[in-house]
């Protein structure tokens, strides 16, 4: 097992493309995400309703080395301050196979 940083990001679903581009530009090759996230935060209620995906979030999980994390940390911050949302960092062990 190996120590990794786990980054969890919750952002408006419509911003997903831009976040993926950000990750790719910065050499992060492994990530997962899914849509249909409802919730509430500073920008009000996201109830998942409507035809436009304007009120629904996406959830991203990225496991990466501490190094990778330090490289993108600042860029993530800039991105989030524009797009809104939440970013949580924690430590995980990666089961190598």
């Amino acid at each position: 097992m190996q120590a990794y940083k786990k980054i969890e990001v919750i952002i408006p679903k419509l911003e997903s493309k831009r976040l993926i581009a950000l990750l790719q530009r910065n050499g992060i090759k492994g990530y997962s995400y899914w849509g249909g996230i409802r919730g509430s935060g500073d920008r009000g209620l996201q109830d998942g309703e409507g035809l436009s995906e304007a009120f629904v979030n996406a959830y991203f999980v990225v496991a990466c080395s501490e190094e990778d994390f330090n490289r993108i940390k600042e860029k993530l911050r800039v991105f989030l301050s524009d797009a809104g949302g939440v970013c949580m960092i924690s430590d995980v062990d990666w089961l190598i196979h």
Binding site: P12, L14, E49, G50, L51, S52, V78
Partner: protein, 330 residues
């Protein structure tokens, strides 16, 4: 006769299903059309309307009259957000004003489709090219809204060297609005309707025409549910927003009706053009604004268009506009 049109429209099952949706929300029912089905229904309606419009156009051919109508459509899509913006700025902040302006400059495809259904029920003919008018009106208002927001924006923290993480460019947003699924589907179907033989379009009729009204009724039920859920967001809203959501569409309608009178536009086409200008977007524009003006309050511009302007138009607006057009156009 006026009342007749209104009552007939009210007791139309499709409109009644819209009210059923509102009612279900009111009694806190868990009735909810699954989101993927609701997307399919909206795509289905665009598919049918586009195909039918194209087939009719390939039938009737082009004329100068068509270009006049298209010019009015695009002109209104640019003018409405401009003048709306300056009205809105008296009460709202920059971002909300720009977003609401874009919302009211753009159009609602569902209102348009409901108006087509209304014309068919009353056996009033209309031109297939109106579909193109609708598609042309989707994007300009977004551009105007964003340009206004950028012109008046000050003191905004400039993105530093990480510019690529910053907000997307206007160009990107507009490009996405033009390529948005609804526009591509209705215009694509429109072109396919033009290219296909009359016979082959006819073989699609059981799908595109016979079950159309039922699908529309089902979809309006969903719209009622959506509008109902958004209604509560209006409680915190100022009376100004509510007045805006009814009066601006009426003003836009008045302008188009006058133009229709002056330029001798056919009754059916005139109604559809009026409805386009009087309607406000709640699908394409919110999606664009959520990304490009994230600081605008989506809890304001979506309920205004979806929970006020939309029901106003389909319940009262359409029969009213039609009544007036019917009186003034021989």
């Amino acid at each position: 006769m006026s009342l007749d049109i209104l009552v007939n429209n009210l007791f139309n099952p499709t409109i009644l299903f819209f009210f059923l949706g509102l009612f279900a929300v009111w009694i806190r029912s868990d009735l909810a059309i699954p989101s993927q089905v609701s997307k399919f229904l909206s795509y289905y309606l665009l598919f049918c309307i586009g195909l039918k419009g194209g087939a009719e156009l390939s039938h009737s051919g082009l004329s100068a009259h068509i270009f006049i109508v298209l010019a009015i459509a695009v002109g209104m899509a640019v003018m409405v957000p401009l003048y709306s913006f300056f009205i809105l700025r008296r009460r709202f902040n920059l971002f909300d004003s720009a977003a609401i302006a874009a919302t009211y400059g753009s159009i609602s495809a569902v209102t348009f489709i409901t108006a087509i259904n209304f014309l068919q029920d009353n056996a009033v003919p209309f031109g297939g090219y109106m579909v193109a008018a609708m598609a042309l009106m989707e994007a300009p208002a977004i551009i105007v809204g964003l340009v206004l927001a950028n012109l008046y924006k000050q003191n905004e923290k400039q993105p530093g060297p990480e510019a690529e993480e910053g907000p997307p460019s206007i160009r990107m947003v507009v490009q996405e609005a033009i390529a948005n699924g609804s526009v591509v589907l209705i215009m694509g179907s429109f072109v396919i309707g033009i290219l296909s033989s009359e016979k082959s379009v006819a073989t699609l009729a059981p799908f595109t025409q016979d079950i159309f009204k039922g699908m529309l009724a089902f979809f309006l039920l969903d719209m009622g549910l959506l509008a109902g859920r958004r209604l509560s967001a209006l409680r915190q809203t100022s009376g100004f927003a509510i007045r805006f959501a009814v009066l601006v569409p009426l003003a836009n309608a008045a302008v188009v009706i006058s133009l229709a009178y002056l330029l001798h536009i056919d009754k059916g086409d005139a109604l559809l053009l009026t409805v386009l200008c009087a309607s406000a977007s709640y699908i394409a524009v919110p999606a664009a604004m959520r990304i490009s003006l994230p600081k605008a309050n989506a809890g304001l511009y979506v309920p205004m268009s979806l929970a006020l302007t939309f029901p106003f138009n389909i319940v009262l607006g359409i029969p009213l506009y039609y009544f007036i057009l019917n009186q003034i156009l021989s």
